[in-house]
């Protein structure tokens, strides 16, 4: 364990988060549900990793595992060299000031009976960051200013605010403890496009100003393209493709990524594309049979696809795909 931690320290300059062979199984009456099944990836310090996939692909579970809102079944998550999965509770308390989370639904993720000030100040109180009310008020107003909440909303209640402003409360709460790393779990999915743009701009400004590292989880590919340097595409608990955003969008290598990208409706006129329409639907994540999870829907399926899990391998420099045919799409 200590050897691994040391190894993590050595690589600490570049990668803030290193995830290796991470698994999360949930037990159900019908067997184990493989929510996250053996995934590995790194997040570079100060960058944004976009994690995309459809409902049930395990992206939110991964986000929760990273900040230890869920306990991992197996694998390691090194945060600045410290293994989050095994850190004792007293270390976790310090770690949690450095890694935070922004949730999808600003309507259900904040307590409706607290005022804006008390919501934003809650982490300060819990971690005993501030020692008196003047300090509390000063810090809360500072945070409100950072996320663009008007001063007059200090004593307002969430129901008086629209979704965009509520999400700003969520962001201010996450920033209260000066974190380095924030897991953003679909932070703009519940918002209208004009408000969504405001929040995305805010998140990018904050990253620039505070040097934050993001894991940005979303099902919206236009958003992820816009905000991330690198992208991980998940399907049924596994990573099917990983690579730099631009290259991945230009030339997706996994048949699932190809179908996913071709399915995005574009608000442009001159784009009659060849859309790949997938057959059937996602198969069950409960005790999945060996082999590629995408094989039942794949147009290019071969006998070897169902024999064993295809490894996520480097197909060309920096481009990883878990498909035997990936070279074909290079």
């Amino acid at each position: 364990m200590s050897g691994e931690a040391a190894a993590g320290m050595a690589g600490a300059e570049k990668n803030l988060v290193r995830v290796a062979k991470l698994k999360k199984y949930f037990s159900t009456p019908f067997g184990n549900l493989h929510a996250v099944d053996d995934i590995s990836f790194d997040i570079r310090r100060g960058s944004t990793l976009g994690m995309v996939g459809e409902s049930g692909c395990g992206k939110s579970t991964t986000g929760r595992l990273l900040v230890r809102l869920l306990e991992a079944t197996a694998g390691t998550i090194l945060y600045d060299g410290i293994d989050v999965t095994t850190a004792p509770e007293r270390d976790m308390k310090t770690l949690r000031t450095r890694m935070q989370m922004i949730f999808q639904d600003p309507y259900s993720s904040i307590n409706p009976r607290h005022t804006v000030a008390s919501l934003i100040g809650e982490p300060l109180r819990i971690h005993k960051i501030v020692h008196n009310t003047t300090e509390f008020e000063r810090r809360v107003r500072e945070l409100m200013d950072t996320v663009g909440l008007a001063d007059r909303l200090y004593d307002a209640y969430p129901h008086e605010l629209d979704g965009g402003r509520r999400q700003r409360i969520g962001i201010a709460r996450a920033l209260a403890l000066h974190p380095q790393f924030i897991v953003c779990d679909e932070p703009v999915s519940a918002l209208d496009v004009s408000i969504q743009a405001q929040i995305l701009n805010l998140l990018m400004d904050l990253q620039e100003k505070l040097g934050l590292t993001y894991l940005f989880i979303t099902h919206d590919l236009s958003v992820v393209k816009h905000i991330s340097e690198d992208i991980v595409i998940m399907y049924l608990g596994q990573i099917v493709e990983r690579g730099p955003t631009g290259e991945l969008f230009d030339k997706p290598l996994h048949p699932y990524s190809r179908a996913l990208l071709s399915a995005i409706p574009l608000p442009e006129l001159d784009t009659r594309r060849d859309r790949i329409i997938l057959k059937s639907e996602v198969s069950s994540p409960i005790e999945p049979p060996p082999g590629c999870r995408f094989a039942p829907r794949c147009a290019h399926v071969r006998p070897e696809c169902t024999a064993a899990d295809p490894a996520l391998r480097e197909v060309s420099p920096g481009r990883f795909a878990a498909c035997v045919l990936a070279e074909r799409f290079l």
């Binding site: 459809e54 409902s55 629209d162 965009g164 209208d192 496009v193 004009s194 408000i195 969504q196 743009a197 405001q198 995305l200 701009n201 990018m204 099902h219 590919l221 236009s222 958003v223 393209k225 816009h226 905000i227 631009g246 969008f249 179908a259 996913l260 071709s262 399915a263 995005i264 409706p265 574009l266 608000p267 442009e268 006129l269 784009t271 859309r275 329409i277 997938l278 639907e281």
Partner: protein, 328 residues
């Protein structure tokens, strides 16, 4: 007559706590036969209220159509009696709602729900109705044998396909599709829309396609109407509106979108929020957020201005300001 639907000066209000919510305001819109009209706008713009008005389903006492007329195939919908409306809904005008989970009856097999509709509207026997239900399910790619199953036994995408089968079972003339794919994942959305397009083309159905996604409009619609604070602020063919959006709000919507093709980092959001529908501003409803605001905009509510069939409700194009030709 080539207009299937004519909406004139429609106003719908909701009443709550002595306040009046002006959800739809003096709205006029025509739909031609066989077209797919996209209705875009943000939450609270009044899109769903408009759709519900078309089938006279605004619930009283809190909701009321206070003004205007709705003509479907020349007949006044608001003057129709209960029986006539029942014959219209589900037969000539069908609806697909956003959430398939709430559109289906959870305690009835899906086949039953389709059969019920065709038995009622087409006068089929029970056996014929079930046969038709199975056929419709097959059309949307669900094995007919599953007609005895209940909604919870289907996935979200399949449930939405059941809803489509139900909506199209009686060959409607007009389909009101209210965010039909918003609850679905993109690959499933692509499947469902592909199917919808095919069925619509085969039957020559007209569609009012309500969505907040400009991408879906570009790919599925012939015409598009932008709705803001209960009004249609811009209306034209998809080529006209996407080729050159005129209204500052429509342009703002395009600016807010993260584009797949561009590499620009900053988005240009529309500042501020939609006005409170219980206290709409005196002049143009969009004026408080508008980057091109002129003094007149805060005073006088703009009229519709027309450019080659492309309609826009904005003072910029009314001789008070710049002409359309000077834009962009």
């Amino acid at each position: 007559m080539d207009n299937l639907l004519e909406i004139r000066d429609l106003a719908v209000h909701y009443y709550s706590n002595r306040k009046v919510v002006e959800a739809v305001n003096h709205l006029s819109l025509d739909m031609k036969k066989g077209t797919v009209l996209g209705l875009v706008g943000e939450t609270g713009a009044g899109k769903t209220t408009l759709a519900l008005s078309i089938v006279n389903m605004i619930r009283g006492p809190q909701g009321k159509i206070v003004q205007g007329s709705l003509r479907f195939n020349g007949k006044d919908i608001l003057a129709m009696g209960r029986q006539e409306l029942r014959g219209l809904r589900g037969k000539d005008i069908a609806m697909i709602f956003q959430d398939p989970m709430t559109a289906l009856n959870p305690v009835l097999p899906v086949g039953d729900q389709i059969a019920e509709t065709v038995i009622r509207h087409e006068g089929l026997t029970r056996a014929q109705g079930w046969k038709k239900a199975e056929e419709m399910l097959e059309t949307v790619g669900i094995p007919g044998i599953r007609s005895r199953e209940y909604p919870h036994q289907f996935s979200g995408g399949m449930k939405q396909r059941v809803v489509i089968a139900l909506a199209l079972a009686c060959n409607p003339v007009l389909l009101l599709a209210d965010e039909p794919t918003t609850a679905l994942d993109v690959t499933i959305q692509a499947q469902v829309l592909d199917l919808m397009r095919k069925l619509i083309r085969e039957n020559g159905t007209s569609v009012l396609f309500i969505t907040h996604s400009l991408g879906l409009v570009a790919e599925n619609c012939d015409e598009v109407a932008t709705m803001y604070a209960g009004e249609i602020v811009e209306y034209g063919t998809v080529d006209q509106v996407f080729g050159r959006p005129l209204h500052p709000y429509t342009r703002g919507l395009f600016g807010s979108l993260p584009r797949l093709r561009d590499s620009q980092r900053r988005l240009t959001p529309i500042p501020g929020l939609m006005p409170d529908p219980t206290a709409l501003p005196r002049g143009c409803y969009f004026a408080p957020r508008c980057p091109d605001k002129m003094p007149v905009c805060g005073e006088i509510h703009p009229r519709d201005h027309l450019f080659e069939g492309h309609r826009v409700k904005c003072h910029l194009y009314g001789g008070n300001g710049r002409e359309a030709g000077n834009e962009r």
